[in-house]
Assembly symmetry: none
Homo-oligomer: 414 residues x 2
Amino acid sequence: MRAEIIAVGSELLLGQITNTNAKFISAELADIGVDVHYQTVVGDNPARLEEAIRIAEKRADLIIFSGGLGPTKDDLTKETIARHTGVELEPDNRALLSIQAYFERTGRPMTENNKKQALVLKGSTVLENRYGMAPGMAITVNGRTYMLLPGPPHEMEPMFRDEAIPYLQRVSGSQEIIVSTVVKFFGIGEAELEYKVQDLLAAQTNPTIAPLASKDAVTLRVTAKARTAEEAHRLIEPVLAELHNQVGENIYGTDDETLSSKAASLLTGAGLTISAAESLTAGLFTALLAEEPGISASFKGGMTVYDAEAKTKHLGIERQLIDTYGTVSAECAEALAEKIRDHFQTDIGIGLTGAAGPDSHDGQPAGTVWIGLSYKETSEAYKLRLSGSRNTNRLRAANFALFYLIRKLESEKV
Amino acid sequence: MRAEIIAVGSELLLGQITNTNAKFISAELADIGVDVHYQTVVGDNPARLEEAIRIAEKRADLIIFSGGLGPTKDDLTKETIARHTGVELEPDNRALLSIQAYFERTGRPMTENNKKQALVLKGSTVLENRYGMAPGMAITVNGRTYMLLPGPPHEMEPMFRDEAIPYLQRVSGSQEIIVSTVVKFFGIGEAELEYKVQDLLAAQTNPTIAPLASKDAVTLRVTAKARTAEEAHRLIEPVLAELHNQVGENIYGTDDETLSSKAASLLTGAGLTISAAESLTAGLFTALLAEEPGISASFKGGMTVYDAEAKTKHLGIERQLIDTYGTVSAECAEALAEKIRDHFQTDIGIGLTGAAGPDSHDGQPAGTVWIGLSYKETSEAYKLRLSGSRNTNRLRAANFALFYLIRKLESEKV
């Protein structure tokens, strides 16, 4: 099967956004053995879109469109394909009900142009949009498959994985299935990780191991092809064991696990309570921890004490400690962890203090961070030397605190 | 001038890398008034590349290639264009010397295929590569300009800004410049905004007004073409005034301003201090506010009181208030705002309480949020009915609190 991806949107041609959809779709198609020969971008212009379709039809038997399914006048992908293929548009009842429900729920008025989003190509397979209003769809006309996907990546990506891939596998009659596990790393750079496991990377053919580009995380994706899911998992398991053996101390989870979901499940699983006192992160650590439903069983509260006065007045940290060591210090981080633990009467206390940047703070250069962790009869302090921008440093600090918490809880389990 | 961008590289079609070059080049071309009608991606395959060139020649008078100028067998962009246009390749002495110098400097042996990188199209303008070995080039054949750029963004981007842009301005003899202002909205959907200003959108030609897709914000971009920047700004100003007139209550800023940067500048500008008590957002509001350097002048502290007990015990909210109205109520939100304001002795207090989801909380359905704002002699409460996932709701709630804070501070200024 030869595929072409056509992304529709003038904002792409103006350079206002990057065509990440073509990359995502191409990588997913590669996994199921579909070759992509061309990617095209065209603006919100029906004549030029139709010209692009005509060209794609000469060189591909699967044409995947992203974008142009929205409610506005500029969104013309569906209408253009309908006219070009001679397939009518008709309202899809499920999509219409879901759009109406959305507007009822939010109490906002539904405008006439929102109804346009519920139109689909007659006879197409509708692909459900769980994160937005525009449904996707796929239809085969004269032996050529046209697949229409919404433009926003957070809508398109889950739709593609959950609905489009199975559809394409059905259409192509493929017997092989692909199973992959994403291994997640923290506290190690991508280049360093690849260097450490280079022999393993080079030796593998099935499963393959490849870094999965991601803005926020360093990951390796282990992908096996097999006749059954069980067989694929049997191929993957020894590779996971070997990764744990070689770089296990930087692994915190797999697949959809995040630092906060992992920390939350360890906390609630062990029945431990936690609180945090934050300075440079100003609530970011607790905000991340509270991303997980059910965390209220463990998370009792937090306090942001932004300046030295707040630290002494509202958390009872001794003025003398701050005068002696400064607020950016191991002593202050441990005191924050201990005092907040006392304040909220929790099993664990976390303290975060540092110089986020751009300027130095309390005599310490930007990027210096201390994380305090108080648990049972001891307190520990971890130092970071970060080199990012102010807000990158703040996020890294909060994530490191989650990572140290995970390591602590994992080591207690053994 | 109509342009097409052709990125060459099989790694793009396999989804291993994102085509950031097309975005960068498109944005730069938009600034000098060159329209991009298509972006194309093709693999390291001479026949398919030549096919892409043939198609591009029918619809563009400027074709910009990126990638395929390297030393390996796969790199065939130059050779393919030479064969297609009938222009010979010849060694460029400056490029050859620079490549030789590189190998002498690093003490690595220069191989025969590195010499290939010094070949350029005869008669072309050579574009210097300050960060790599492959020179760029541009040549006009039969009235059509072909520009060849290296693939790695850190080589291509400075080359494009420093050498390609001046070349294109010389070739096109263009005097026109483009100035744009992005207007940022909150609390209004894209469809609703476009519906409200549809007459304005339809009436405009210079400046143009267009929605700019963005994950986090609803925006309109106002773009003017003129001889001078002053003239462009004179064209933009009445359009901005009209937008403020029609949908001003949902505008919070322009260009790089965010909700948190706007709130921070209003707070520090007015010399006002602030603190926040958070429940469902668990520190997210204060974490967003603290994104701005210098906010410590205004931001004094925050507290996360996650359950009813923490609200009474640590913030002194009356048990009876919670028993009567529940924690998800206007009364509780206002009490949070007032109590935290007293606690940290600040001018303004913010309170956030609600049911983040997925489950209902304290008798209120998921997505119900109350925001309290205490300032001077009054407290106000705002109700939200959100319909997203747990963490979308939490982020929306924090952003709504910033938005109401901005509106309050703006109205006080008048």
